[in-house]
């Protein structure tokens, strides 16, 4: 606090100095000049971002029709065919990854919020482990995806001999989305008022009964938000799956099959066959799915805040 007060004092002096030099109208002129620049900057930012998505969606729609969506890619050099199998693979992979990551992530978050903050955790060992766990989540969140890919390649593809398969890819993908699920679930659990827990415990319920019947239902929209966020990560991820999924354009028959997601398909179309039109079509579908996922998240988080406000 001390140093802050000092900086404020110094800044105060700066302002006083400037006031001596300049008159009010000049100061206002400076302000409007810089605000104009900020407005222009803001507009440019939005325009750039709109340009990227708008261009891909606009160009992409030229390639999209029903045929494009329901025929499988033929794997030819000009990227003939549609994207049906890649949609299937994406869904398959999303389901597998979420099925692996959700129980682990939600479980971890429950422990970190509900048990680790207990006052009666006196064991130094346990405290150390909890600190490690937090460190683990933060570190995982910062590791670039190609490292997850490399790891998945070394452990699941080679060492455990799962080969390039949906299984290897979804295990590597689960590591990638784990921190997302843990963090959002932690936030959702922390948002549940203490009184809920106290009420349930006072009625004689055990801690686990309280969590299962009171805390989890109350935080469900938040947890689902985390899961949907992870779905978005898996749909848009490429690097991890590029080195673990193999890239076959056929429909996977089992979890040991190779495959390619929509994002991977886009990459192969653009890089290997230079079929930019089809790539744009795939990109447009990808952007639309991300928009849909975002709308869902916004809807859920609005419901979450509305629900909690209604209770309090």
């Amino acid at each position: 606090m001390m140093s802050d007060n000092k900086t404020i004092e110094i800044q105060h002096e700066n302002i006083l100095l400037q006031q001596k030099k300049s008159n009010l109208s000049l100061r206002h002129a400076t302000q409007s000049a810089f605000f104009t620049i900020l407005w222009i900057g803001g507009i440019i930012t939005v325009l750039i971002l709109l340009a990227v998505t708008g261009y891909v969606i606009f160009q992409g729609f030229k390639a999209i029709d029903l045929q494009f969506l329901i025929t499988p890619p033929r794997g030819g050099l000009s990227g003939e065919g549609g994207i049906s199998t890649t949609i299937g693979t994406t869904l398959y992979l999303v389901l597998l990854t979420i099925a692996i990551a959700t129980p682990l992530g939600v479980g971890a978050a429950i422990f970190l919020v509900e048990y680790a903050s207990d006052n009666n955790i006196s064991s130094r060992f346990l405290k150390g482990m909890i600190g490690f766990s937090h460190f683990g989540v933060e570190t995982l969140a910062g590791i670039p995806s190609i490292i997850f890919g490399l790891f998945g390649y070394a452990l699941f593809v080679s060492t455990m001999k799962f080969g390039f398969s949906l299984l290897s890819a979804s295990l590597a993908g689960a590591c990638l989305v784990l921190p997302v699920i843990i963090r959002t679930t932690e936030e959702a659990l922390l948002a549940v008022p203490r009184s809920y827990r106290e009420g349930s415990l006072a009625l004689g319920a055990t801690k686990w009964q309280t969590i299962r019947k009171v805390v989890l239902p109350a935080s469900l929209p938040g947890i689902i938000t985390g899961i949907i966020l992870s779905v978005g990560r898996v749909v848009s991820e490429t690097a991890v799956f590029y080195v673990t999924l193999g890239g076959s354009y056929r429909m996977p028959k089992s979890i040991m099959s190779s495959g390619r997601t929509m994002a991977l398909h886009l990459y192969y179309l653009a890089m290997d066959t230079r079929a930019f039109e089809k790539a744009m079509g795939t990109g447009a579908i990808l952007i639309l799915s991300i928009i849909l996922i975002n709308l869902l998240i916004n809807f859920l988080s609005r419901r979450l805040t509305a629900g909690l406000r209604g209770v309090q």
């Binding site: 140093s3 302000q31 930012t45 995982l140 690097a239």
Partner: protein
């Protein structure tokens, strides 16, 4: 003891185990990347790898200096192009923009952070590379550091802007009111009070942007050209350096892992080790800056 008490106990241990999974994964990642990379460090030598200028796996030359430089140069390019816009955008959103515009722009930025990197890469290939190719320098192919920097700048813009905006919003209202009450204009308040107070948060935002830039893979492969030569200016003008094709550390791993074997494969894991260490340094410094900020408030 009642069954429900036993269940209660059991659940606690199961949850404890799942809470440990994240640190176990971090440990496993470090273990596997290092274990597979150790062979390269031993046979090639750490110094020869890190400072070797030639990457020719066919002739057993495994210098990754060109890739390290590629990653650093493209990150610098992205920061130079992206940070002013991102910080300007953050100030605009937090301080200047009317409510209505905020309500539209903020979800848009959130959306853009989620767009797949291959889509940005595709846009770069189809739109940016032909534009860059128009710059009249002999040997300019369009693919290269400049196109990659622009693509990367757009990709890290949402990340930096949203974290910086949070930092600006976290400045207590009393600071603003104090400054305004002293007769400062809104702009003077922003420059002299709010920005200094939000400084560490904004720096952390930039550092996290650097982390994202260093880790980006697919979009880079698509626009940077993937040449393994040391980047150098193409004419007397040193800025033509950015028209050179290059390769990033991430790209080196992704492009070659599918067919590499033996020492070559091991060098790719060693490349991963270098990237891992770089990113850890960046992330830990970001966390350090963030913590400093929490200590102040």
């Amino acid at each position: 003891m009642e069954t429900r008490r036993i269940v209660d106990r059991g659940v606690k241990y199961i949850l404890f185990i799942s809470a440990m999974i994240s640190i176990v994964i971090v440990f496993l990642i470090a273990l596997f990347i290092f274990r597979e990379g150790v062979e390269a460090f031993n046979t090639v030598g750490v110094r020869t790898m890190l400072f070797g200028k030639v990457w020719r796996p066919g002739q057993e030359q495994y210098g990754i200096l060109a890739m390290i430089l590629g990653s650093i140069l493209v990150t610098i390019g992205a920061i130079v192009l992206g940070v002013p816009l991102a910080i300007g955008g953050a100030i605009f959103l937090a301080e200047v923009a009317p409510e209505g515009i905020q309500a539209v722009v903020r979800p848009a930025i959130q959306l853009l952070a989620g767009i797949p990197s291959v889509v940005y890469g595709l846009f770069g290939m189809v739109v940016l590379v032909p534009l860059v190719r128009k710059i009249p320098v002999p040997g300019n192919s369009g693919f290269g550091l400049l196109a990659a920097s622009i693509v990367l700048a757009v990709m890290i813009l949402p990340t930096i802007a949203s974290i910086a905006e949070d930092a600006i919003r976290a400045v207590p209202q009393s600071y603003r009111q104090g400054s305004l009450a002293l007769g400062a204009t809104h702009w003077q308040t922003i420059v002299n009070v709010i920005m200094p107070a939000a400084r560490s948060g904004i720096i952390a935002a930039i550092i996290l942007g650097v982390g994202r830039a260093l880790g980006e893979t697919m979009a880079m492969i698509m626009v940077i050209g993937n040449s393994v030569l040391m980047p150098s200016p193409m004419t007397n003008n040193p800025l033509t350096l950015f028209l050179r094709q290059a390769r990033t550390l991430t790209g080196n791993i992704a492009v070659e892992i599918s067919y590499a074997t033996g020492v070559h494969e091991s060098t790719l894991f060693a490349t991963g080790v270098v990237l891992f260490v770089l990113i850890m340094v960046v992330n830990i410094s970001a966390r350090f800056v963030m913590r400093e900020r929490q200590a102040i408030h």
